[in-house]
């Protein structure tokens, strides 16, 4: 805890030193004195404080820019053509402009989480007071590792989170200012600032999630979190259905409370889409998770919801139009997403209900979460019975419409995955709905095909009809998000992770913009669960993991435990719960390795980068929030793999494994600079196929600190996956085998032969006590 902005004003003070008049003392921040850990070197770092650390990372992982646009259109000098070596009117280069856009994206992402956190914190303080203790996880003392690390404060109550959030907001303003015309110009400095935005994002996410865990009684890091149901089929359509979309749970909490207070769960079903669904189920497991973000159009078009409630982030901005299409009202609940609706926050609830039920207004804006529950539930109970006769489109209607297809191919051109939409429509015209059903599993639900169609086919509805039998069978169990990893779990697995005996921690996170459907995420998860990695997951990925069953009808949540341990599948929760993943990495450095945590960012990041085999995977990354979450990982030295659509973030951070000079670290024991091989090879990388990603994930789990036993385990996974998917041995084993003891025993002959061909020599690659920070060298050679 810290005290802010102490100001002491004394009109007159007489002392042995003399008499002072008009004495005024201002102190920016006083750090808590009952925390015995000394304040580290970088409390509340400003934009440039960690620049030298960032530049170390960016020296190894150089940006490869792939401009999404050749122009800069941000000021009235432009548009400026930046192609090749051209410069804009302000002097900016193409590299500068691309990195500037990366920074802007990360600022948008971090601001979104910070705004979410602010709304959450302000509301919870108003509702429960500032003194709510931050009881976040069982068996845990380090309740807020990101906040402790970055800010150097130890929050104990909701009040203390305000300090962290104030800091985040202040810094974000600085970062956005840096993107103004004629400010920052160097691409690496833009990149460093993007890292800063990412770091801030993890602080903001941590604020939001620990506040809601503490105040709303969500699961406190329990491995056996309650199980809820996911999928269309989980919704009891005999009840009135309320559909909540977005990320901020507060309005939904009021709906659930109202249902409980009035004993209405028997009549009303609450289903959610995207992260609100996760957090609803963390609040009350009777709330159902309908599915990931990409199901918005699908679910609305199904006609199942009777009222749609939107909060914030990743909403379809045409939700009002879609709701009108099925005759249901919309309740918007955030000033960030007013949707053009009239603010009825101050009106009598029954009057609002009357207007919604009678269709006098298509929707309302209610920004006080405490009023949402009553309005929404009462409206749903009245609208539901009226909609009992709602008829969705029939297959016969689809077939008839499909006959009018002009065969222009615009739907295919518009599809992000070039799916054979037109062929499926043609088949439907002939009464064959199987091709439409096949599209269902690969479609990202964006609706661009509809927008492009010159005859306005509701193609998402067509696809729904094609897959209607499969859709109603969709019902999967999922453990609700458990939140943080307990300190005691970190103690139990920290050693095995750091020495490489648990081969890695794979974090499957992020959105649902998949190249070939969500089943790839489940496939990646299972591959690494079988290999005894720890798999943690959040957001849409955590949902998609649930949606694949094996031949016995079991999904991964049924087959693997929720323990943070080898072979554990840990649903952490929603987007803002991602802070617990970086938090776990930070806690490994602090709790297992006893590295000082307080305001000690560089040392902890250096530890994680060189020792903790964690890899982030955002297979369907879509949003700016995903960019800032990734940036927070980059600054900690954690590599992130994205799917092919992630290449649209327009910049990779790639190592060059053949450049020996890039892969040197200090041996903290001697101060010698030694070559450790390219581990991890990349910091941000887009894979073309899931198979390529799996091989790369295994490879990126290697760290300089691996023991021989640990490196052998990691190599065995890398080689095995490479052989299976590429049909051959990797051609870079000589860069990862440091000595013969690193060679997996079962592949020894084959590997030694490959090493011989590559001219490998034992001990050319060092096994030091690795650090990139000169100041951590304990002894000089």
């Amino acid at each position: 805890m810290s005290k802010r902005d102490l100001r002491l004003k004394i009109d007159e003070l007489s002392s042995s030193l003399g008499t002072f008049k008009g004495l005024e003392i201002e102190v920016g921040r006083i750090f808590e004195e009952d925390w015995e850990e000394p304040v580290g070197p970088t409390p509340f770092p400003s934009v440039g404080t960690l620049r030298s650390w960032d530049l170390k990372l960016l020296g190894k992982y150089r940006p490869f820019y792939m401009p999404f646009c050749d122009l800069c259109c941000l000021c009235t000098f432009g548009k400026c053509d930046l192609t090749g070596d051209k410069r804009g009117a302000c002097g900016i280069t193409m590299a500068g402009q691309q990195s500037r856009i990366v920074l802007i994206a990360c600022c948008i992402g971090a601001s979104t989480h910070a705004a979410h956190a602010r709304h959450m914190l302000d509301h919870l303080i108003e509702e429960y007071g500032r003194d709510v203790p931050l009881d976040v996880a069982l068996n845990t003392n380090v309740e807020a590792p990101n906040i402790r690390l970055v800010c150097g404060i130890r929050p104990k109550t909701l009040r203390d989170l305000e300090d962290a959030l104030d800091y985040v907001e202040t810094q974000l303003v600085q970062l956005v200012a840096a993107t103004h015309t004629g400010q920052e110009g160097d691409n690496l400095d833009f990149e460093s600032k993007a890292f800063h935005a990412g770091m801030l994002d993890h602080v903001a996410m941590e604020v939001a999630d620990i506040a809601q865990i503490a105040a709303l009684g969500m699961p406190k890091g329990v491995p056996d979190a309650p199980v809820t149901q996911l999928g269309f089929g989980s919704i009891d359509t005999s009840k009135t259905v309320i559909m909540c979309i977005g990320h901020n749970v507060l309005p939904s909490v009021d709906i659930i409370d109202y249902l409980m207070d009035h004993d209405l769960f028997g009549e009303v079903e609450v289903g959610g889409l995207c992260c609100t669904a996760h957090d609803n189920s963390r609040y009350d497991r009777r709330a159902k998770i309908i599915g990931p973000i990409s199901w918005q159009l699908r679910f609305i078009r199904s006609g199942i919801p009777d009222v749609i409630v939107v909060d914030e982030q990743c909403l379809r901005t045409d939700v009002l139009l879609e709701a009108e299409g099925i005759g249901v009202p919309v309740v918007a609940t955030s000033e960030k997403s007013c949707l053009g609706l009239v603010d009825r926050t101050g009106d009598d609830p029954d009057v609002i209900v009357g207007d919604l039920v009678e269709g006098r207004v298509p929707g309302v804006l209610i920004v006080d979460p405490r009023k949402v529950g009553e309005v929404v539930v009462k409206t749903a109970l009245k609208v539901g019975p009226r909609r009992a006769g709602f008829k969705a489109m029939t297959r016969e209607m689809v077939a008839e419409m499909a006959k009018k297809c002009r065969s222009c191919m615009e739907c295919v051109r518009a599809c992000p995955n070039n799916l054979p939409v037109m062929d499926a429509v043609h088949a439907a015209a002939q009464g064959d709905f199987e091709p439409l059903a096949e599209l269902y599993h690969r479609c990202v639900g964006c609706g661009r095909c509809e927008s492009a169609c010159p005859v306005d086919f509701p193609i998402i509805t067509f696809i729904n009809k094609g897959a209607e039998e499969a859709i109603m069978d969709e019902k999967f169990p999922i453990r609700v998000g458990r939140g943080a990893i307990q300190d005691v779990e970190i103690r139990e697995v920290g050693r095995a992770i750091v020495f490489g005996e648990i081969p890695g921690v794979v974090a499957l996170v992020g959105c649902a913009n998949y190249p070939a459907g969500g089943s790839d995420v489940a496939r990646i998860a299972e591959e690494f669960l079988r290999r005894r990695f720890i798999v943690v997951t959040t957001g849409c990925s955590a949902m998609d993991i649930a949606m694949t069953r094996d031949e016995d009808g079991l999904n991964l949540y049924e087959k693997y435990s929720g323990n943070f341990d080898a072979g554990g599948l840990v649903n952490i929760g929603s987007c803002v719960s991602n802070a617990h993943i970086t938090g776990a990495a930070i806690k490994i450095a602090n709790i297992f390795a006893k590295r000082p945590l307080r305001a000690n960012y560089e040392e902890i990041a250096d530890y994680i980068h060189n020792r903790v085999g964690a890899v982030g995977v955002a297979w369907g990354a879509m949003s700016q929030k995903a960019a800032s979450i990734a940036a927070g990982c980059w600054r900690l030295g954690i590599p992130v793999v994205v799917g092919p659509h992630g290449s649209k973030y327009r910049r990779m951070l790639l190592g060059r494994k053949e450049r020996e000079e890039d892969w040197k670290v200090y041996d903290a024991r001697t101060g010698d600079e030694v070559y450790v091989g390219p581990a991890p090879e990349h910091l941000f990388y887009a894979a073309e196929t899931a198979e390529e990603a799996m091989v790369m994930i295994a490879k990126l789990s290697m760290r300089p600190n691996d023991t021989s036993k640990g490196r052998a385990v990691k190599l065995s996974h890398y080689i095995d996956l490479h052989q299976r998917h590429y049909g051959c041995m990797p051609d870079d084993l000589h860069l990862y085998v440091r000595r013969e003891a690193d060679v997996p025993f079962t592949m020894r002959d084959e590997i030694m032969e490959a090493l011989g061909r590559a001219g490998w020599a034992e001990e050319r690659i060092a096994m030091p006590d690795p650090t990139m920070l000169d100041r951590l060298v304990r002894g000089r050679g």
């Binding site: 053509d81 992000p416 070039n418």
Partner: protein
């Protein structure tokens, strides 16, 4: 040959510097013949792309041999080349490859120096679009050619939007010219 220059995917419009459309297969074949060091980049969609040789993997093997080009498979495609008896094809992730192609100091797969021509085929449209965009701005010495069925605005040269049958004929014709037929 079609010469439409609308992008193959909606909204993937070109910047001020746009690709020239290859007017006929002979031009593409001539570029390959004239190149000092040519690289054929084959993406993971190749196995789903039918050609007169079978699929694009078969055609890539043929083009590589006849054009004296190094063939590099991206994604996890190289296994397909091995299964078809081609031991020469190299493998490299597309991002790594793009990063190296923009580096004039990269010696190529055989250490013989930078490539002066890189041809792309069989890749997800948007990934190829982006890598070609990176090369357009950051690899000024490299000439890039897209052999996809759809117009790729960021290449130096590209085939236009082309019907399947016509595209199969173009690929076959390029290989035939390189074979001296």
């Amino acid at each position: 040959m079609a010469a439409k220059t609308i992008p193959g995917q909606t909204a993937e419009i070109a910047g001020p510097k746009k690709a020239f459309v290859i007017p006929k297969p002979e031009v593409a074949a001539a570029m390959i013949k004239r190149a000092k060091r040519a690289l054929l980049v084959v993406g993971s969609d190749a196995i789903n792309s039918k050609t007169r040789d079978g699929d694009l993997v078969d055609s890539a093997i043929r083009l590589g041999r006849m054009g004296n080009m190094t063939v590099v498979a991206t994604g996890h495609l190289v296994g397909e080349f091995r299964r078809r008896g081609d031991e020469d094809a190299r493998t490299m992730p597309l991002m790594n490859l793009g990063d190296r192609l923009r580096d004039p100091g990269w010696g190529g797969f055989d250490g013989g120096g930078p490539y002066d021509l890189a041809l792309f085929v069989g890749l997800p449209y948007y990934m190829e679009w982006l890598v070609l965009s990176g090369l357009k701005s950051f690899a000024p010495e490299l000439r890039t050619v897209s052999l996809e069925r759809a117009y790729q605005p960021n290449a130096s040269w590209t085939l236009g939007n082309t019907a399947q049958e016509e595209w199969e004929e173009i690929i076959d014709r390029i290989a035939s010219i390189l074979e001296g037929k």
